[in-house]
Symmetry: C2
Amino acid sequence: MKYWNKRLQKMTEYIPGEQPDNLNEFIKLNTNENPFPPSPAVLDALQKACNGDLRRYPNPNAQMVRELFAKKNSIAADNVFVANGSDEIFTLLFRGFIEPDGIAAFPYPSYALYYTMAEANGIAYDKITLDDNFDIPFDEFLKKKYNLVIIANPNNPTGKGVPIDQIKKFCSKFIGLLVVDEAYVDFYNETALPLIKEFDNIVITRSFSKSYSLAGLRVGLAIAQKDIIHGFIKLKDSYNVDRIAQAGAYAALLDDKGFKYSISMVRNNKEYLEESLEELGFQNVPSKANFVFTKHPNIDSKTIYEKLKENKILVRYFAGPIQSEYIRITVGTMMEIKKLIKVLSEIIPD
Amino acid sequence: MKYWNKRLQKMTEYIPGEQPDNLNEFIKLNTNENPFPPSPAVLDALQKACNGDLRRYPNPNAQMVRELFAKKNSIAADNVFVANGSDEIFTLLFRGFIEPDGIAAFPYPSYALYYTMAEANGIAYDKITLDDNFDIPFDEFLKKKYNLVIIANPNNPTGKGVPIDQIKKFCSKFIGLLVVDEAYVDFYNETALPLIKEFDNIVITRSFSKSYSLAGLRVGLAIAQKDIIHGFIKLKDSYNVDRIAQAGAYAALLDDKGFKYSISMVRNNKEYLEESLEELGFQNVPSKANFVFTKHPNIDSKTIYEKLKENKILVRYFAGPIQSEYIRITVGTMMEIKKLIKVLSEIIPD
């Protein structure tokens, strides 16, 4: 670590969900990917983008994607930033929208990447523990002068959603920048997006990884007032989103029919997963996302995780307080869910 | 700029080369893209990667690309980092490999992105002016205790190359980290890559944008000793290179025949461009890259740039000392070069 600076030496390494080399032998319900492929229209547009124009740099701001998303949401293209996955948005937030001696705050448990990225950028932060119902104790976030708060809505790994009027109320009192990570919003259907017209201190982030089945493509969006979006564009790498990813995101936004079909399939399967888990005695947290956070009274979660893995089924187990009592299971195809439930029924003690 | 931190407010915005909306009406010789499309084998591999697997996250470290590049260069996969364009490598360097109060140094003129990215990350730097032959005055870089030095070899915008023994000599004396940006190295054929076995303070960067005709795909590489590469991987976003880009880079590394063909075509056209410019009285800087830095004794460069633009030909004009005396012309197809030379012959006063 001779040439690493102190910040890099100190930071915790983020470990994404397991991706074993022999992935195809596994049922993979650990990283909240969509179980259904991108729509044929999207795959077709992607293939067409694989042409000689790749010798040229992409549009630096993914202008066509900005414009289409803006049009669909009755906002301006200047309100939209297109990123190389929403990871890029989070890292830019820490680099450009909080002073190096500022302080951030995040709920706990939530998406661990927020904590890692704050560390990677040398930003101090507090973790505010969710209340006993896994709801966000907004008042706690007002007790200090936080400069930046990131919440996920629905939250990950709990799957719980925050009503928009609570976010609105918080925004009007909060002096810092509030980021609402809406990676799972399409499964929820309540969005804070309209609040950007009212407040200059809110940033909404979106992802094509989950509802659009494009985790492999890396496209995320930030939506906010123009001044904030201009800051993202100034700070980002010159050509952050490649030509093919831009074409895929554009096609995905166009294909409403394919999108709605995929969402309704996932919702249907989620209901089935939740009911089947309940029948086995699991205690589910009510989920607004495409995963279920759940525990069983008779067997600890780490054991469930390990036994499932022995049976070639991957779910997510998180170490740490609260989280370690649960496992997080991504909604899969019907066949995957049935296999999971069968194996679980053999694991659960009578 | 209410929520921008001071660093973001202060930084200079990087302006990439012009990309007018009506691009297809222009001959575009301003951003050093390859005039030839990616090889059929690469386009085929890209199209095949546009499949249902896109619903899944990519390999976080682009492991197959690392391994293939390592094998071809007789190094280990642990010596290779795959990035979302080499831009990502530069920003990670400033974030993780120099203390916030450290100081960097870059030649001038060189790739302006180094200066922008240092600013974006709050890193102070010196610009060391090239000597009268546009060679790097290495001794000047030893006069202060610089923590990080980035040189481009061949240099951009001059096109001049540094012999590897000079880099080796510098490396052995320099106490900081030396980064050699080899974006244009395939047109040069002298690489500092073997030096990574000898020195722990050198990082080589490569790009698929130029010689591989994949500017639209965004893939760059860093090659260094394992400890440095581990730092890059720790600091980068979880999934920085998408599935399709990984597939394209892998196919490009496999297709030696297509690669060599493209390089020889570009070299051939460069010779023709250089000779044709000389015949018109231009004074070329001897170029090792796929562009020519040139000026004419009878007409100032800004006028040439503007008149070419009126004729729908884009070349690069840079404001600032030294640079503004020249224009930079990317090597195009034979037809593009012939059109350029015809227009130039009409612009040049007798």
